[in-house]
């Protein structure tokens, strides 16, 4: 609730919420019920995942795959079993490295490119913008990408997962639009005070654009954290795999019903559901921890860019 104003209008006192009259009790109850249901629908699967990861394998099978409330107490064996081998903990470190370094590089490249494209008179401005837009429309495809990564000598190195995706055209456009929207008076006065182009960007442009930087930072961060396909193609050494790809080897057995001919996937004993859910928790929790801190910038960052584009 941002602001509550109280005004007297005639005999009746009316409560204003954010400039709007506060709705009557039935309407408020209706909204509360509706929102509770929606929240419940969102939270329900999460509770299922947490409970299943804490249930014993027998209980999971008895319950038909998912446990909503473990009745036989909490069993941490699923977590113990995945964290003991060292594969998952190592993958967590790899994922953290890829996410932090990748996001930093991506932000630097995206913001500098966005700044350059937002400034009138940059050399090759139009042509560069066109190139960025083209990459929005056309995808290089699997094998050409692989060959480029190979030619740069990046195969089997973590840079192969970070560099090919470190500039997203969509984010560049959002940042550029935000920069264009900055008041030109501020920038002009800084220039009169003798600021160089770099200082304009670093001391004026960026501090005024924290919201949009936070938002695309989150986009990149989540993107890097969740990515597995690049790692699948470029990293032959499975000890360098990020968490999401390791997770995939745990659920690969869960191929769709009927897809029995996929490399004999039905032959291997399936990992217990509780283990799958435990590894899911491990992969989701870090992002969930970061999200609330960036969320407040979210709407502002994206909307500003979008409207003034």
């Amino acid at each position: 609730m941002s602001r509550v104003d109280q005004l007297t209008e005639g005999k009746r006192r009316q409560v204003l919420v954010g400039g709007m009259p506060m709705p009557g009790r039935p309407e408020r109850i209706g909204k509360a019920v509706f929102l509770t249901i929606i929240c419940g629908l969102v939270v329900f699967p999460f509770i299922g995942v947490i409970s299943t990861s804490l249930a014993t394998p027998e209980e999971v099978i008895r319950a038909g795959g998912f446990v909503m409330l473990p009745t036989h107490g909490i069993d941490l064996s699923a977590y113990r079993s995945i964290l003991s081998g060292g594969t998952v903990t190592q993958a967590l470190v790899v994922s953290a490295f890829i996410t932090v370094v990748g996001t930093a590089i991506a932000l630097l490249l995206t913001c500098t490119l966005g700044w350059a494209l937002s400034r009138r008179g940059t050399f090759g401005n139009k042509a560069l913008l066109l190139l960025v837009l083209i990459s929005l429309l056309f995808n290089p495809g699997l094998i050409p990408s692989y060959l480029v990564v190979q030619q740069f000598g990046l195969l089997n190195s973590l840079w192969s997962v970070i560099l090919p995706v470190c500039v997203s055209a969509f984010n560049v456009i959002v940042v550029r639009a935000y920069f264009i929207g900055l008041p030109s008076e501020v920038i002009d006065s800084a220039r009169i005070d003798g600021a160089s182009e770099w200082k304009l960007f670093w001391y004026i442009g960026l501090p005024l654009s924290k919201a949009v930087v936070a938002v695309i930072g989150l986009f990149y961060g989540v993107g890097y954290w969740n990515s597995f396909f690049g790692a699948l193609l470029y990293l032959n050494d499975s000890s360098k795999w990020p968490l999401q790809l390791v997770l995939r080897t745990y659920v690969v057995n869960g191929v769709e019903i009927g897809a029995q001919d996929l490399g004999g996937a039905g032959e291997a004993l399936p990992p217990q559901t509780s283990i799958q859910m435990a590894i899911l928790m491990i992969s989701v929790v870090p992002i969930l921890c970061v999200y609330p801190f960036i969320q407040r910038h979210f709407a502002k960052g994206v909307l500003t860019g979008a409207v003034k584009g």
Binding site: E58, V60, I61, R62, A63, G64, G65, S81, S84, G85, G86, T87, Q90, G141, L142, I143, P144, Y146, L147, V148, Q150, Q151, F152, L155, L232, L233, N236, D237, S238, S239, W241, V246, R248, T249, Y250, V252, N253, G254, V255, E256, I257, G258, A259, Q260, L262, G263, G264, A265, G266, E267, A268, L269, P270, P271, T273
Partner: protein, 542 residues
């Protein structure tokens, strides 16, 4: 990164990339004609090059399956396993392997006692590039384009396999054809039909991962649940089967007889051919069989009566095992190789598995199941490693040592105490063992499949007998292991479409009459061409 680096991407590389793109199927429906090279299919059975089959007799099975064309069965792991290999097969140089896996990846070499010991026994440091099986074709396509196939690679399903093998794989004919294979006795012990898929134009390009009967699908039943209700795991005709399903369904207990639609089981009752059948000189798809409409009527009846689990068409494979394991669906269709996973997911100690053999639909005799594919794939040796071919074949020979040998015990169960413990004389993997042995060895080369179910006393015999009862008369696929270019390019999409129509008809979203139209579309969309190519391949193989 400087611009000089960028120039490394030369025109030639780009052209190579475009070529490889075609290889990966992005070129769509290009014709093979006029492309040069040997566009020959695999002429599988050509007598002259076929490796001689020499059965390994060093270990005596508890139940011998050879005469029924089914795997041998063992009740216990032999107490004192024989040593099958005298000296390490490796040449001391690293061996790189590209293959897939269906299990979580192992810890890295430094932390993996099994891997270290494995390298010692092989006599070469082995590095394995693993990919989840569902993603393997993409990994394979890019590895082909980048020429990063390692020394030994599992051949993925990409177009133009014959040309690919000719360009990238070592011709193994001189080493494996006829009696030459005797030098690798455990490769010679691989079932004969498995080699069909490795032979292209009178050249042997690989070593098969054999399966056959064990990959046949049958109807599993929870014998203990049936028994409790006074029912038997056998049916005499269609009505009998429907009645069994009715008896086993109890909606108040949330129990549905079938975990999934028993499409194949019902087809087996009508003797619908195994994917392809010979008709005169040509081959005809099972899709064109005349009894499909009758089959669908039965399946629709099972579905509308609520005898099939409502989630039968969604969810994951694993759900079937869970439903079977907790008794909420006491019937399920699966391969014989899935038996151990059903034992593992059974929660109650009384759980018993039995196979229900299909009868003829009208009760006039036994129905016939479909024989599983002879091999699920094959591994080839890189042309670049041709100089080391003998060491690499010895390595594969080492991996193909059969059940009952020390090498097999080590490969599947690791070291005693560290990786497995003995329970009633049978090795059982420890948690550390399960995590460390997952080097994808069974998808590089493997011995013939053996029925060995230490999870539950007596089950080896139950499975053996069930296979003995159903497999000898199983319908075989006449073109199994043969190659059709169109089948590789368009087959998966066409099959998906037909499966979709099948599901739609069973669930009543489309009328039974939609089948004929779908088959017509399948034929014109590539089916006829596949049939033609298989006909030619079959002819060439004789």
């Amino acid at each position: 990164m400087s611009t000089d680096d960028a120039q490394l991407v030369t025109r030639r590389t780009l052209l190579a990339g475009v070529g490889a793109l075609g290889l990966a199927g992005a070129a769509g429906a290009c014709s093979n004609e006029g492309r040069g090279g040997t566009a020959e299919g695999n002429a599988g059975a050509s007598g002259s090059v076929r490796p001689t089959y020499v059965r390994y007799t060093g270990v005596k099975p508890d139940l011998a399956g050879a005469e029924y064309d089914i795997p041998d069965a063992f009740n216990r792991y032999p107490g004192s396993p024989v040593s099958a290999i005298t000296k390490p097969p490796g040449d001391g140089k690293p061996i790189e392997v590209l293959t897939y896996t269906n299990t979580p990846i192992p810890p890295k070499l430094e932390q993996n006692r099994f891997w270290q010991e494995f390298n010692k026994r092989v006599g070469s440091p082995v590095s394995v590039s693993l990919t989840p099986s569902v993603d393997y074709n993409k990994k394979f396509a890019t590895s082909v384009a980048g020429d990063k196939l390692g020394d030994i690679f599992m051949v993925g399903s990409v177009p133009q396999i014959p040309q690919l093998l000719e360009a990238k794989a070592t011709d193994l004919t001189a080493h494996l054809s006829g009696d030459n294979i005797r030098k690798y006795p455990y490769l010679a012990n691989l079932p004969e039909v498995g080699w069909n898929s490795c032979i292209f134009g009178d050249k042997i390009y690989g070593v098969p991962i054999p399966r056959g009967a064990i990959s046949s699908q049958a109807l599993y039943s929870r014998a203990d649940i049936l028994e409790k209700q006074g029912l038997k795991a056998e049916v005499k005709n269609v009505d009998d089967f429907v009645e069994l399903c009715k008896q086993l369904t109890d909606k108040r207990q949330n129990r549905f007889a079938l975990a999934t639609a028993p499409t194949l089981f019902v087809r087996n009752m009508f003797d619908i051919p195994n994917t392809w059948s010979e008709s005169g000189k040509s081959v005809v798809s099972y899709l064109e069989h005349e009894s499909h409409e009758e089959v669908f009527e039965i399946l629709r009846k099972l579905w509308t009566s609520g005898y099939v689990h409502p989630d039968a068409f969604s969810g994951q494979n694993q759900d079937l095992k869970v439903r079977f394991g907790n008794g909420s669906s006491p019937l399920v269709v699966d391969t014989f190789s899935g038996w151990p996973s059903y034992l593992q997911t059974a929660v109650s100690k009384e759980a018993q598995i039995a196979i229900v053999p299909p009868p003829k639909h009208d009760g006039s005799g036994k129905g016939r199941i479909w024989m599983g594919a002879p091999a699920i794939g094959f591994t080839a040796i890189n042309k670049k490693s041709e100089g080391r071919v003998e060491a690499l074949l010895s390595y594969l020979n080492f991996l193909a040592t059969p059940f009952g040998t020390q090498e097999y015990l080590f490969r599947k169960f690791g070291l005693p105490v560290v990786h497995h413990t003995l329970v009633d004389g049978n090795p059982v993997l420890t948690e550390r063992g399960f995590s460390e042995i997952q080097l994808g060895l069974m998808y590089q080369a493997d011995g013939p499949w053996t029925i060995f179910l230490p999870e539950k006393e007596g089950n080896s015999e139950v499975e053996f007998n069930a296979m003995k009862q159903t497999c000898p008369e199983a319908l075989t696929n006449p073109v199994a292991g043969l190659y059709s270019e169109t089948n590789v390019r368009k087959g998966p999409q066409l099959t998906d479409d037909m499966n979709q129509v099948t599901d739609d008809i069973i669930q009543g979203r489309k009328p039974v009459s939609a089948w004929a139209a779908a088959v017509k579309k399948w034929k014109s969309g590539g089916g006829d061409q596949i049939a033609e190519e298989f006909t030619k391949a079959l002819e060439a193989s004789r």
